[in-house]
Assembly symmetry: D2
Homo-oligomer: 356 residues x 4
């Protein structure tokens, strides 16, 4: 029998509404490369949802591709992108940004987040130096919402980062590969229109949020719009049958489906979190979204792994492992029930004892 997977948020296919629509439209004849009516319509829906009627919207296939394409379109060759040490572009993209010629200038992260003051110091440091041309020029900021640790920037924090970027006239790019899980979180105090105002460019992730694949890039800063389609094409991200992306986003943006799917995932993650805390397990990161990081005694993990697939993050000590429990739009409640029922009280807390 197959184990139940809480390993990531892309274990299943897609929201059934999407597949159904792909079946209905399959024999339509459409022009390629994202210039078909479905893409046009999806763009319109996204602009409305963002309250950004002037925004450019482009559809790409996956996250690494999207990050590399957006960053490549913004930076000149001697410039770098500021990111958290834990940022996806810094650690999980096989150097795609460097392959494009750019350094990722990392700042120490706390629970996946960086703060405006760190960004300011990085920028101020570069420009105060003699001969700044001997170092990479920091020229944009990359953050993720939610972060790779499931955490969220508050509106206040985002605004502060936005303000530093304005001060130094560099753009803010928000990786939204899990954007819905963030916006739908009970702890989020920002909306899609807020994000469209605070970021110069961001994307509405599809792959991890109910689509077969797809990332919708929203460019609100006019200075960043020019010739973006060249970058998509050159980077291998221009899908011949672009309609597939248009159709998926038409469905996701209709009747709030995108947020409904995300809310479901968050609720199931919340159930897992509460159960783990009740059993005395130590939370590694305080995440209000669909990814939960907990520290488990190795023997508990081993027992759980008989029935469930989880992601191992790291080993804080020889006897414990940090584990990620990840839910998605597709997570079934009964599977969460099974997981919760499999938990036993934590007999071996890390460090000074039970979770604090």
């Amino acid at each position: 029998m197959n184990r139940i997977q809480f390993q990531c948020d892309y274990n299943e296919g897609c929201a059934p509404q999407i597949l159904q629509r792909l079946v209905e439209t399959n024999l339509e004849q459409n022009i390629g490369y994202g210039e078909d009516p479905h893409c046009e319509h999806a763009r319109e829906l996204i602009r409305k949802a963002c309250e950004a009627p002037q925004a450019d919207v482009h559809f790409l296939v996956g996250g690494t591709q999207t990050n590399a394409t957006v960053i490549s379109s913004i930076l000149r060759p001697y410039q770098g992108v500021i990111a958290a040490t834990t940022g996806h572009i810094a650690v999980h993209e096989t150097g795609a940004i460097e392959h494009g010629g750019h350094k990722v200038l990392t700042l120490p992260a706390t629970n996946g987040k960086i703060q405006a003051e760190q960004v300011r110091q990085c920028l101020a440091g570069h420009y105060s130096e003699d001969g700044p041309e001997h170092a990479v020029q920091p020229a944009m900021v990359y953050i993720s919402y939610p972060t790779e640790y499931g955490t969220l920037y508050s509106k206040q924090e985002l605004t502060e980062i936005h303000n530093v970027c304005r001060e130094y006239q560099i753009p803010l790019f928000v990786d939204g590969s899990r954007l819905g899980y963030g916006l739908a979180s009970k702890e989020s105090d920002i909306t899609l229109p807020d994000l469209a105002k605070l970021a110069d460019v961001f994307y509405i992730g599809g792959t991890k949020q109910g689509a077969l694949f797809g990332e919708a890039v929203v460019i609100t800063n006019p200075a960043l719009k020019k010739d973006f389609r060249y970058f998509i094409k050159q980077g291998g991200g221009m899908l011949a049958k672009g309609r597939l992306l248009g159709i998926q986003y038409e469905v996701l943006m209709q009747d709030n489906l995108y947020m409904t799917l995300a809310r479901h995932a968050n609720e199931q993650a919340e159930r897992i979190k509460e159960a783990l805390l009740r059993k005395g397990y130590k939370m590694a990161v305080p995440s209000p979204t669909n990814q939960q990081f907990f520290i488990l005694p190795n023997e508990d993990l081993k027992r759980l792994e008989e029935d469930f697939v989880l992601s191992v993050w790291n080993q804080p000590d020889a006897d414990h492992t940090t584990v990620r429990f990840c839910t998605s739009w597709a997570t079934r409640k009964e599977n969460v029930d099974k997981l919760i029922n499999s938990l036993t009280p934590n007999p071996s807390p890390v460090g000074e004892g039970r979770n604090k």
Copy 2:
């Protein structure tokens, strides 16, 4: 009412068998990034079809991405790839190869093809020069089967190019984005196992041949296998839900579907070709596959375009236009009937008269 599109071979969605299989498997839980059982099974089917049990098979999303990834995996930074001036990598990929740092060393093409002797001269010229390090070192050959003009290399021609590559110890890479249309052509004298022997790496195109998207790279030369997955990931081509590629190729490789779909397209293209010749239109390129290039008087083209969408290729003189008629796995016979019935005898042949 919509015009009927003979514009390209990716105007529709995909073979219905594929969509059906996506629906059936949608809620399966699978590991990501191409390591799931569907991908494994599809790889096995491809190895069998190629009679290449040791080959590595990788699935990517689109053609430009595949070309850039394969070429990047083979060349060192100072090396270039030999291609026809009309090769897809030379003219239709927005410099994706150059973005990866490599020069495309073009040779004049005849009907989309280059010959072994041209390749040999290019290689011999580089190595005989004093100080060859002042020029890009030619280090692989790229050809397309069929070519961008729908034409085919004979087994003899392919073997000769293969032999020159062996002599100079450089790999031969065959772009097979329309591979099926080539192999299924009545004029083809090669098989998939032949290709697997003659090429060091090639791909079995899905996007233009009935899949939603997807290109299956087959690496037969062991020297080219190492760390290929790093290249896919870095190039943005590693689909999170890799299963989608596995499932599509499982369907395409079953019961010879891939070839059946291609044969249908070729037959409809043949009908168009015969009708055009009968009406006295001049063939621009003698293509035995799904793309047909004909020279039309501008007024004839204008009339046809009221009901049909075609691809304009170029303008041989002020009164004529070279047009591509493209069929696909999805082309309906009744639409071809309509096209044929719309043709009128050519009143204004190019140059010395009717087609010769």
Copy 3:
């Protein structure tokens, strides 16, 4: 005994005035990286000579480095540079431009030159196409003055190319690695101030014109000035002891030395040309500068090579070789005498006979 070299224009060290000045200044203490008083002074002399008081002037070490740095500073990643098929960046720089990510878009050259109309067609072709984002965007023009074949653009030709560039709003870059030989030619009708007006960026070559090394880049278009020093540094072209470049250009720009040295080379080349024509040898290219290309019967070449080192260019037929005779600021008259005295009447003209 050593053979006399007419092989290239960098066979010797440098103009003795330069070495003397290096000796005099050797123990001065100076700040590095081109910010010392010698560089400042040399920049001022160059701005004056160009009648371009607002120009930025930067010193780099060699030609390939300079070309790669300038082009990298101008193009965005999806853009390419228009050049002659025979342009130095197209054939003799081991793909340095492609290494920076850019395609060299070549146009057929006549005696090393391209014409404004070719450039216009290339630009017009790109922008008229549907979906121009599928091809590299032509975004600057590169020419050499003199060309790689020693030929010169007239002021009229340069102005026409300049005008096309203006029309399409792309910059014109002039490779001046042999600039002096061009400006000092009797057939030249342009001056340094003319060039500064017609080009957006160009360089005054030192390496081939009497310096130990060095190329002085002059940027007249304000849009191209920003952050250029970052590009020099990143490209490895920022010499630690930048003073060496400043001092060399101080000497070259003083008392018209740069032009005096070039004129000497041209005069010696003229003597060689006249002698070869007198003896009935066929001129391959009509060059009015320090490089002379002639077609020699192989046996004549063999005999000459006993005493002289020449550059072999190509083989127009089995019995003849195109040879470059190259003079420089350092060419001694008595060596030219020896060469001329070694010439015998051409017994075996190419094709229809004696030079026409």
Copy 4:
């Protein structure tokens, strides 16, 4: 009156013996690009000094260029280079390594040095992960001898790093832009032949050690030799008048001049260090070579700067500045005397008081 510069080790021209030899050889005719007899002879002298008769030796112009060229020649596109966070390639080369497509994988440094165990953990971490292709593959190690802080690896430390590299089959590259200052240090326990055995590739720096410019790359690992000249040319590092490099290294390698010049610099640095310690200033880094890092009260620094130019490193607190005193082959003893005489006892030690 000019202030005396202790700012860096490239404030002056070059060792007079070099200039004299350039004058003597100036009118010799030589072939270009490093293939002349002076280069050949210099290579032979270097091979002998390294006791590495099979080594390949190449001459480049500057340090950033050399680092970028060597690293580019070794890594495949998805691979990165391990370096100290303070390594030159990590912070002072404007992203030249990233421009070549590669990530610099930084490890925390202590006084500029990294340890074998850190390298091992980095390598072990990559290969133990699931799906290592999602991260950059660490594939070479870069260290500097001496480091950017003037410190030295012991033979034991170097051997341990060498051993980890062997274990993981990756090359060790030693940046020797100040190599002589290291080898000539009283605290060094390694020799040039030791280095040639422990490193796979390293360079003997000229620019900072008495040459006008130049870095001599020594490749001892046969696997790294292939086609290196292509990399030099493509990277813009192939000097047309390569003889200039050959001649300089002929002089430096003769009669032990390279070491003599370095020893002089170290002795003057030692005098400065002792004087500063005597006066109660706190040493920031324990350096046994020509760079000395001390923490000065801001008012002391201000006073010193009236007569001397120093390098400001950073500000440990609001009242103190870390300063680099740098000597060279050209530092005059009387200038060191003046500096020492200008020192006053430190009235305001950092932290717990006088240097400890």
